[in-house]
Amino acid sequence: VSIDDRLRAASRALRESSIAQVDAATPLREIVLHPVQLVRRGPTTVLSDPPDQPQEPPMPLAPSPPSVARWRRAPQRVALAVNLLLVLALGIVIGIAATYRQEAASTASTVPIPATSTVVATPPLLLTSPEVPEACLDAAELADEVIARLNRNQRDNRLFLALRDYTIASQNCRRAASP
């Protein structure tokens, strides 16, 4: 047997064994299942047959990158930030209102003690009359409305008007609540 014959026989054996033993579908499945690792750039394409060979239905290998979704998330983040700011502002309004009420109560609660009273001291009475400025109640209601619209994602002119009214009411509230 010449070396030429042995080379031909060994080559034929290797070809046949490769076709029989090597599974081409496994790495292809990996490409399909994990396209991000393997496909590093470019749009979706396929390894279809060259034009001079019979065509088969192409198999998409990779989805296009999800960059659009990232941009869609930006308004949601803005809405979240606005919500947090509104909650903060509402907290300040309520705090100011509570302080105002407490001051009003302390000035009104100086009850005179009768001269004929016994030695037993009575604790000072706390007045709980709701003396919240009207502007602060308006501001709170408008803040609720703004938050509700943002939560429903209603970003239209009504939201703009509500925000504007809230800002004005908030300023009025601050003014009315300040001593």
């Binding site: 047997v1 070396i3 030429d4 042995r6 290797l14 090597v22 579908a25 279809s48 047959d49 060259p50």
Partner: protein, 159 residues
């Protein structure tokens, strides 16, 4: 599909030159990934099959050294647990083992000429060498193999 048809053949070619199925498959996948990225252009070539083999062979030359250095430890670990070769009859395995002892260019010429059934002109085109160089490499390669394996020298002449 082009990939499903050609992938095992390219793995076989690289396995003949490298002796490791694992490394052959890795290189073949890398080759097809290169083709996938530029498939619009490659599918328009006269012979995409030849292009794939040329890239696979060139990867074997330039990329393999760095790749093997990086992967050797992992590959050795895997090879202990798996049979890292395409199963062949003993005399065929012995011949391919001998081919791998040849200088790289001779081994590539032998593999492309016999495994891929390329003519001298096609091998020359694939490797970017003159046909005369390929003929000489074939002649020297066969003679060395015959000496290594204790077989008759070639009687056939390159096409």
């Amino acid at each position: 599909m082009f990939y499903l048809r050609e992938y095992p053949m390219v793995v076989g070619l690289l396995h003949g030159l490298l002796g490791s199925r694992l490394v052959a498959e890795e290189l073949a996948q890398e080759t097809f990934l290169v083709a996938y990225r530029d498939w619009d252009r490659i599918s328009g070539l006269d012979n995409p099959r030849a292009w794939i083999r040329k890239v696979a062979i060139n990867q074997r030359g330039s990329f393999l050294r760095a790749y093997l250095r990086q992967q050797t430890r992992e590959r050795d670990t895997v090879a202990r647990h798996e049979d890292d070769s395409i199963k062949l009859a003993d005399d065929h395995a012995e011949l391919w083992q001998a081919v791998r002892t040849l200088p790289p260019l001779q081994a590539q010429v032998i593999a492309l000429h016999y495994y891929e059934d390329y003519s001298v002109a096609q091998v020359a085109a694939a490797l970017g060498k003159a046909p005369g160089t390929i003929k000489a490499q074939l002649h020297h390669g066969r003679r060395k193999l015959a000496r290594l394996l204790g077989t008759e020298t070639d009687r056939g002449r390159p096409r």
